[in-house]
């Protein structure tokens, strides 16, 4: 019962962030602008996550071994975002490009799955509680950018 309540709180938190961020981004922007911003937000989020882990490693809060467990998921998400940026640019140049649109939806879904894996391994490998909370919050913010992109593409 206690565990269920904890999960409910986290799910509610993710939903609140997703909805507020999606609402904020979609207020006046066009589809292409929202997409361009989502890929940029995601890249900036990755910089925040990498800086956080670098600081944690350099200050001795995390071992290299723990960092090495999280790193592949960040690399995967980074590679996928590079693909998403290329496809988003095709879509910006031609919003009727259905191939780019479908490709983007597929890649964004993979980015989302990659973020979930990064967060799961982060919860295990980041022992310092403050760093763990900050890492999860950055992941939630990046998931919000991903959700925004999906909402825009599915509209």
């Amino acid at each position: 019962m206690h565990k269920r309540r904890k999960i409910t709180n986290i799910v509610a938190l993710v939903l609140v962030f997703n909805l507020s961020f999606a609402a904020m981004c979609n207020k006046e922007d066009s589809k292409t602008r929202t997409l361009a911003r989502a890929t940029d937000d995601f890249a900036e989020g990755q910089k925040s996550a990498a800086n956080l882990l670098l600081n944690a490693k350099n200050s001795g809060l995390m071992s290299q071994e723990d960092v090495n467990e999280i790193k592949p998921f960040l690399i995967e998400a980074n590679d996928l975002n590079a693909e998403a940026i290329t496809l988003a640019r095709d879509f910006i140049n031609n919003p009727n490009n259905l191939t780019a649109k479908e490709g983007l939806i597929s890649i964004i879904n993979r980015i989302s799955a990659s973020l979930v894996r990064a967060n799961n391994i982060g919860l295990v490998r980041i022992k310092n509680k403050e760093t763990q909370v900050a890492f999860s919050a950055i992941i939630i913010a990046m998931q919000s950018a991903v959700t925004t992109a999906i909402i825009v593409l599915k509209k």
């Binding site: 709180n9 938190l13 361009a36 980074n78 975002n81 590079a82 509680k129 999860s136 919050a137 939630i140």
Partner: protein, 56 residues
Amino acid sequence: MDIEKLIKLIALVQQGILEVNNMIANHKAQEGKTDIEISEHAEKANKEARELIDRL
């Protein structure tokens, strides 16, 4: 929910708000830019992120 868990949840919300604020600031900095220029900024930021990840 005990106090310790409540404090953790508040910290998570605060950090999340900080991240969203960073994104809002990023959006403001992009005002007046074209979609392609934002996309180019995303590409540059993604490369910078990769450099940081590689240093991990």
